[in-house]
Amino acid sequence: MSTNKGNGMATASGLIGKSVKRVEDKRFTTGHGQFTEDIVLPGQTYAAFVRSQYAHAKILSVDVSAAKAMPGVVAIYTGADVAGVNGVPCGWQVNFKNGNAMREPKHPLLVADKARHAGDAIAIVIAESKEEAVDAAQAVNVEYEELPCVVDAFKATQSGAPLVHDDVPNNMCFDWALGNPIEEVNEAMSKASHVTTLEFVNQRLVPNAIEPRSYNSSYDAINDKYTLYTSTQAPHLIRLLMSAFVLGLPEHKVHVIGPDVGGGFGSKCFHYTEEALLTWCTKKIGRPVKWTAERTESFLLDAHGRDHITKAEMGFDNDGKIVALRAKTYVNLGAYLSTFASCVPTYLHGTLLQGLYTTPKINIDVTAAFTHTTPVDAYRGAGRPEASYLLERLVDLTAHEMNMDPAELRFKNFIPPFDGVNQPGYQTQVALQYDSGNYEAVLKKGLEILDYEDFRKAQKEAANNGKLLGVGFSTYIEACGIAPSAVAGALGARAGLFEVGHVRVQPTGKVSVYTGSHSHGQGHETTFAQVVADKLGISMDDVEIVHGDSESVAFGMGTYGSRSIAVGGTAIVKSIEKIIEKGKKIAAHLLEASADDVDFANGKFTVKGTDKSVPFGNVALTAYVPHHYPKDLEPGLDFSSFYDPANFTFPFGCHIAVVELWMMSVMLSTR
């Protein structure tokens, strides 16, 4: 067993960077977490779905008469009932190489004409109990005409492949390329003394959050107001997409709450048809409707991840310096375009192909296709694991092919260290500018932890004894906290990528923080409280973090893409800075000094060079009981900030895996 071998903290003192116990754990370890499925509303009804058993089939008829007569059935709706309702939208527009917009076929709430993947929803059955809903769903009779299907992205784009959407020729959603002009890359490649070629599949994965997706939607007719409880990573985003794009509801009449969320890994940041459909149904029946996916449904419906077929070539000179990289990838989008599906294989993948290396010429070409499979979207890493897999496999394979050491090969090609302050950021060949990096250092550290020389000796000995040991390296970079909004917008994002942090200091000096980030396991209630307590010099116990509620929090973009601390955390810090600035004015008044002469540290406002000070709590009280108070200053101590970062952040690192192959049956053991 080992612990983290760190060499320093992000801040020198205080709570930030300290290892503290999580404040949210008590409710989870005692069984008092509140997940969406735990919520039962007065008059609750339950939904079950009739889903296509075929991947591709014409729906000839849907007979609900027998089901309607079953005990407890409240309502049944089919594709015909929601034909006039919009489908769920895609949040990122990618253009074809020729400039045309990508093709966005409708993703209806229920399908009426044909099913396009196994599990496509044909009807929703609402009943008094879960049991009755499931029983009645089984009694709905659907007549299908099964059609041929295609499940592979490459095959889908070939002529004669069955079409997923009649109006999308060759099943092509878009094609796209990035980097240096292909002629330049080809030329550099032609001069390479060694070219490593790798054709591989980055397979399809199922995110598998252990909490299945769950929604509970209700409608208050008196106030014409909807409330949706949803197991989401991004409550405000869901409200925006569902109200403005799907159902056409006034946004202020829709309250979206994300209670405790049992993991997401990307799969819960998308707007799913069931969220909008339940919200549409609740008004129709005038009662709350709840649905929780069964695991089998999760497998068939929660957006999957990855599914790339790639051919990549990396050219090297005699010395092992990379001279060019060329890659062609076929991307499987599944049957419909999920919320962020289009940006994952493009702007989150192609833009990372510089890796940690000085590769002078890079070109990535992507073809994205519809198939008769579950939609594919961001899953933990989203595009970046695909990029790092492409690069790091090529580098290790090259080491074998050129008979070089894989670590040595990397050291030869690393971008030299730069801190982004004294040295500029690093401009890649694939659009991004890295913020700061010291890539040699992480590999050196990894080699130390492994004791590389020792391992190579052990490997030789093992091989002599008929045992196979192996070491694999991966020095990777990622781009987190997509930003700024203007750049993302220019690349096709249909949403802003800022975050909101609202800090409300209560009269007694206690602090409530409202963040647009939404924890689904990350521990924001602890991390953000740490940041706030550190910055204000108060106890973490005096800080409360509120998240996941569209009415408490002004706005928010949610939690995904490793953005919470960098974007959400910074938004909170911005508000704290405003609070300190105003606090200085109040303190200056109390201390009869000039605000410019007041410092804030360790929870105290102090007049520079004196021992005259006033604690944070007194300043807070004064802000709300402004009897002795600066003229022209508003009472209260409450600030909100929208933070739109200047750039992504670029974390990087090194993974080293050591494996032993057990020869008799070839079992792998990781060490």
């Binding site: 067993m1 116990k21 999580r22 949210e24 754990d25 008590k26 409710r27 989870f28 370890t29 005692t30 069984g31 008092h32 977490g33 509140q34 997940f35 499925e37 735990d38 039962v40 879960k130 049991e131 598998n208 959050a209 252990i210 909490e211 299945p212 405790d260 969320v261 049992g262 993991g263 890994f265 929780t292 069964e294 695991r295 089998t296 689904h520 396991g521 990350q522 521990g523």
Partner: protein, 168 residues
Amino acid sequence: MSTKITVTVNGAKHIDKVEPRLLLVYYLRDVLKLTGTHVGCDTSSCGACTILVDGKATKSCTMLAVQADKCKITTIEGMATNGELHPLQEGFNQCHGLQCGFCTPGMIMTAADLLKNNKKPSEEQIRAALEGNFCRCTGYHNIVKAVQYAADKMSAPRARKTKKEAAL
């Protein structure tokens, strides 16, 4: 057709009429409103629904409520006594053995069964004991540590066992 059952859950006796097809996990969650026991799958694989039935770790999604007639059940809600957390509950907090918290109740209940039978489990034994409980967040590293923490605490000579722990 409903059947009368009598069960003792976390020390409290309950008499209810239930449909035979009602799974024990739904009886706990929907009838008794003990929502700490979770459902994560439909194939008896994930272990999120683990409780103790007559002291034995049990997947409550794979037992009918009628089968639990006359049984003594402990759920996650019954692990803390008089506001004092069970060493496992403390261990999961101390060792950061949870992230989203959804699998945590099942993990704790399975670990409770292990520690009842094995006071000083090795890392390997802990991992083997938890093979029926999925966690997608932690990579299990800190869960193993949490169970080790609890084992150490429970076997410490000065540790005073509460009545409930002793009974588990």
